[in-house]
């Protein structure tokens, strides 16, 4: 760390060779007037680095299995909200640092909340959540005559881990690659094909999924309750049925632990990988906040499954990214296509990967919901539309539809172009 008496300045980049020209845009961002470039700023994971005010949002409570790595928590804290215990720990430990906890989902807050921050760091547990916060920060960007106003950019530093693998990335919304620009980088979630589960199991996991997906709803062993991964009786039931199935097909390896892991979709986790990725993220927050160094450009992967592998590369923006490119999204469908096909495209397309899109449009000057899944009554009312063709629904060539989904805080506009 440089001597504190030297003035904080953006790294000129000469010595780093090829980094020079590429970082002009970042330099403009870092040199803008604001709290970061204040000459008295003292850069003295972030609390130890001298950050004074940190808000923490987490919807979860502490579980005993968290204690092997989440070291702000102790056995006596099990059951308490993570955000609150973390805040207490740090506020008591680091004088002068204030952590404000929010025992809430990130989606419980709107842009007025997020606008107050200089930097946002996440360690979220799903891609959906990442896309949501990504979308939120893009929605607060302001453009004047089509030019992005750098003072509206809130940097997003995102880290994630799974066992011995992890990654950390720096996102300057509107300027560098966002979460959706690189959606295809994320490996597909493992969902076994139904035919394998139903008739041709090979792995113990297939047997467990059979019990979970097919036997439980059919036999309703505890009445009309859904399967609860945290209920040992439920897991025990699934475990026993899985063992039966496994012995029918001579498949070894069904254990209680595995059953629980499959039902709860448990991801293994250790302290060391999290230390590496958390520290990489903290380093980036420090660099950006002090404007003293050029940030990570812009994606670091880490893997010590076998030996050690780490690589840093510049993820590129996608020209027509649905989240950050501001380019209206064109869809091509024949007028005879059914609405169902549009829905499938929105969920299955690798760049979109929506979860349960709600589609609305304007017909004869009025807003009309074509299909919405999340509210039971509306789902029932609009379900017949899925089998109707776009023409039958009254859509015309070039029709704009608005799509809402959990993956984005703002609706996405699409234009439907009719093909022959």
């Amino acid at each position: 760390m440089a001597d504190a008496e030297e003035p904080m300045a953006v790294e000129s980049g000469h010595r780093d060779g090829g980094w020079d020209g590429r970082w002009n845009h970042v330099r403009k961002f870092l040199e803008r007037p604001g709290p970061f470039t204040h000459p008295d700023f003292e850069p003295s994971t972030e609390a130890l680095s001298g950050f004074r005010l940190i808000h923490v949002v987490d919807m979860d409570t502490i579980d005993v299995s968290n204690l092997n790595r989440q070291f702000l928590f102790r056995p006596k804290d099990v059951g308490r909200p993570k955000a609150e215990v973390a805040a207490d720990f740090i506020n008591n430990r680091i004088p002068g640092c204030k952590v404000v906890p929010h025992f809430k989902k990130i989606q419980d807050f709107d842009e007025s909340f997020y606008r107050q921050f200089h930097i946002i760091v996440c360690g979220l547990d799903s891609i959906i959540a990442r896309r949501w916060i990504n979308g939120m920060l893009i929605s607060v960007l302001s453009y004047e005559d089509g030019v992005l106003d750098p003072s509206s950019i809130i940097p997003l530093i995102d880290g994630g881990t799974e066992g011995f693998k992890g990654n950390a990335r720096v996102i300057l919304p509107g300027m560098t690659a966002c979460i959706d620009c690189t959606l295809e980088l994320y490996p597909p979630q493992i969902n076994f094909p139904m035919c394998t589960i139903a008739s041709m199991p090979r792995l113990p996991e297939h047997c467990i999924e059979y019990a979970r997906i097919l036997q439980w709803p059919k036999e309703q062993p505890f009445g009309e309750t859904s399967l609860d991964g945290d209920n040992p009786e439920h897991i025990q039931w699934v475990f026993e049925r899985s063992k039966d199935r496994a012995s029918q097909f001579n498949i070894p390896g069904v254990t209680y632990r595995l059953t629980q892991g499959v039902v709860k979709r448990i991801i293994p986790a250790v302290a060391s990988t999290n230390a590496v990725i958390a520290a990489a993220c903290a380093t980036e927050v420090f660099k950006i906040a002090t404007s003293a160094y050029i940030p990570l450009n812009n994606y670091l992967v880490f893997n010590d499954v076998d030996g050690l592998y780490t690589y840093t590369f510049e993820a590129e923006r996608k020209e027509n990214c649905t989240a950050c490119s501001q380019v209206p999204q064109d869809l091509q469908f024949p007028p005879s296509a059914k609405l169902q096909e549009v829905l499938e495209y929105l969920t299955e397309n690798a760049s979109l990967q929506m979860k349960s899109p709600a589609i609305t449009t304007t017909l004869e000057g009025k807003n009309k919901t074509l299909y919405l899944q999340s509210v039971k009554s509306i789902e029932e009312r609009t379900r017949p539309n899925l089998c109707k063709t776009l023409k039958e629904l009254g859509l015309s060539d070039g029709q704009e539809i608005a799509v809402a989904d959990v993956t984005t805080p703002q609706t996405v506009l699409f234009k439907i172009n009719f093909t022959a």
Binding site: R15, L48, V64, S65, L67, N68, A271, A282, F286, G307
Partner: protein
């Protein structure tokens, strides 16, 4: 090495260590559960490694450090309270280290590692062996093969040479309080070290000096994470350790594994 009895993982441990057992298996966790580890040096890096080993659930961890807590210690070493200045660093780190996981026996030892008799070390489990640090640093850089490898060699390797020489000559690490004199000495050592290796002094330009004066806590955490996992691998005998240096550059956010030593 003392013979270990086959440790049993209690229900409480199985619940707490569940997420890592799913990663490296129950047998590996049992071996960890039976291991006693010695950790010498409780600076920022040592504290991070200690944290990772304690959370992993080893049987015992001895923190060995003869140094005293200084003002700088608190910035990068999170086990030492601000109020502990002047105390022995190992002893000052004990309480917070123990609190991380009451199931691990954590001890503090204020002695110098050089003063310990040979049989002191027998109570600990051996870690995997690399070539000694001395051999790793005695690479002949004049051979053609070495010259070709030079291009890919992280500069941090040479920085390591310089820092170790400083430590040998001065008996301490560079101190921000004597920034100017220590900076001069570092530059001089850099010139000497590179000359002795028959390399140009341009290889490591003057910037490096600003990196030598303190530990930055996130960088300690990255290296501490990797190092901690290396120890876990060694104790659980599951995977081969890295060969044999890991360098992390916090400025670029990049890391590299490289091998130094006899071929």
């Amino acid at each position: 090495m003392i013979e270990k009895e086959d440790p049993i993982i209690s229900e409480e441990e199985a619940a707490q260590y569940d997420r890592q057992i799913r990663l490296w298996g129950l047998d590996a966790q049992k071996r960890l559960r039976g291991s006693r580890v010695l950790l010498a040096g409780l600076g920022g890096l040592g504290a991070e490694v200690a944290k990772n080993l304690i959370l992993a659930g080893v049987k015992g961890l001895t923190l060995l450090d003869h140094e005293q807590v200084s003002e700088d210690s608190c910035r990068a070493q999170f086990l030492v309270p601000v109020s502990a200045q002047g105390q022995n660093r190992a002893r000052a780190s004990l309480e917070r280290a123990q609190n991380l996981n009451p199931m691990v026996e954590v001890h503090a030892d204020p002695d110098r590692v050089e003063d310990k008799p040979d049989d002191f070390f027998l109570q600990f489990d051996a870690t995997a062996r690399f070539c000694s640090l001395k051999e790793a640093l005695e690479v002949d850089w004049t051979s053609e093969k070495a010259k070709a490898a030079l291009k890919r060699t992280p500069l941090d390797y040479f920085l390591l040479h310089v820092l170790l020489k400083f430590r040998t000559d001065k008996g301490r690490d560079p101190d921000p309080k004597s920034f100017t004199e220590d900076g001069q000495l570092l530059r001089q050592i850099r010139d000497d070290v590179l000359e002795a290796l028959a390399l140009s002094s341009d290889l490591l330009n003057d910037d490096f000096i600003s990196y030598c004066f303190s530990e930055v806590s996130p960088v300690c955490a990255v290296v501490g994470g990797v190092l901690g996992q290396e120890v876990v691998k060694a104790l659980s005998q599951r995977d081969a350790p890295h060969r044999n240096f890991f360098f992390f550059n916090g400025r670029k956010g990049s890391g590299v594994v490289d091998y130094f030593g006899p071929n």
